[in-house]
Point group: C2
């Protein structure tokens, strides 16, 4: 099934950008009258009929639409420190999107060697991964923030939720996976912690090669994060992150 | 922790090959008298003291050894069809080794586009992955066989096990993950099937981009393979394979 991606769908008209248009007309040789499938990246699949078959800008009429197409029964936000090697992060983003992911936050830890992150590149990879794995929604990628900023932000959100009578803080599960043994707060496996909670909204914080600092871990715990481990294997940052994505996927399987 | 790999450990003497020796002496600047850690790739970690510090061939005296070092509580054999793109298979091999894997069989399906496989390259990747993830055992890589040969071979092994009064066929769990819906034999999730079996020895068969043929699936079922699915997400071959590795990892977590 061939999918196109467009952010420009309104009033029953769908427009493809130049790349998608060129692919649609020059490569796949679609012509006016042909039906195509388009995702808006927000979870909806549109069936459209091409009205303008220009390789510079395809226009198509929306015939039908399907919300929540190719979705999953939870909302997963992965906050992962950049890896020394970009490819490894991009690989993680692609695979996590295939399995089931909603949002990525690159976070810079005190022990992070790499402190730059190419948001645009990862966004591109996520669009093709979503098309490839037949998902209507493309995961969001945030601009990098420090681990501490991220923790404070998430803590405040949970606090706000708790104030809001419609939702309780427990509607969101905040997890942090670090490697060092903490005498005061023993970590349990992510599998065990996930199995004890019903929440559909999960945030997982994964540290850099050098792990989180004690201060970062303490801040997370004091802001409602539950410490977890990912089992006995020693995993690279990107493998740990994908293993957490799989744990959430299996929890809801 | 810096690990070296050697297949030449006997009589209390450990010899490193030329690559490992050069890395040990030229890069890490070890000298006679230094202690190094060496894995034999079969599950044992050796502490050794360097006696000959030649960059062409290091010799070291074994001080102590630890069997089953960095092991996992199951035996997993993944039979995975080659991916169109080699990198994707090599990526799977590396990640699967980090998480926990014992044996890889490249298998060629009737719908396989790619029919060649570079065993030596994957072996190299597995050695560095095992060193990187602190495992004493390096997963074995078999020469490619057809999916049907593999199924017959596994079926015969289970039959032989059943004859052998020491073990029963149920000591091994044979799983096949295919995508098409089979009216006659409904597939259940790999998580559900794994949870119902205690066996520590698991074989998982993962098909090519074009999926298994009906004939291959039927042959597998008639030889004791249980059909499973990997959830609702549409996964690439290498992602499906790694997801199965994670399912087994979480089953024993």
């Amino acid at each position: 099934m061939e999918l196109f991606y467009s952010k420009d769908i309104e009033g029953g008209i769908c427009r493809l950008d130049q790349d998608e248009s060129a692919h649609c007309i020059k490569v796949l040789r679609h012509r006016a009258g042909d039906e195509i499938s388009v995702i808006d990246g927000c979870g909806t699949l549109y069936r459209c009929r091409i009205s303008v078959d220009s390789p510079k800008g395809v226009e198509a009429m929306v015939i039908s639409s399907e919300e929540g197409w190719g979705g999953h029964p939870y909302r997963l936000h992965m906050a992962v420190c950049p890896t020394k090697n970009n490819d490894r992060y991009e690989w993680f983003a692609e695979k996590a999107c295939e399995i089931g992911l909603d949002e990525i936050s690159p976070v810079i830890g005190e022990h992070s060697e790499r402190r730059v992150f190419k948001t645009a590149r990862v966004e591109k990879i996520l669009v093709s991964a979503a098309k490839q794995s037949l998902k209507g929604a493309v995961p969001a990628v945030n601009e990098p923030v420090s681990v501490k900023e991220f923790i404070l932000e998430q803590g405040e959100r949970s606090f706000a939720d708790a104030q809001d009578d419609k939702r309780s803080a427990s509607d969101r599960l905040l997890l942090i996976a670090y490697c060092f043994e903490d005498e005061t707060v023993p970590r349990r496996s992510i599998k065990e912690v996930l199995s004890e909670h019903e929440c559909k909204e999960i945030v997982v914080l994964i540290g850099p090669e050098g792990d989180f600092s004690r201060a970062e871990a303490e801040l997370a715990l004091s802001h409602g994060f539950i410490p977890v481990h990912l089992g006995d294997s020693r995993l690279r940052t990107e493998t740990a992150a994908l293993t957490a994505v799989s744990a959430v996927y299996f929890r809801h399987m």
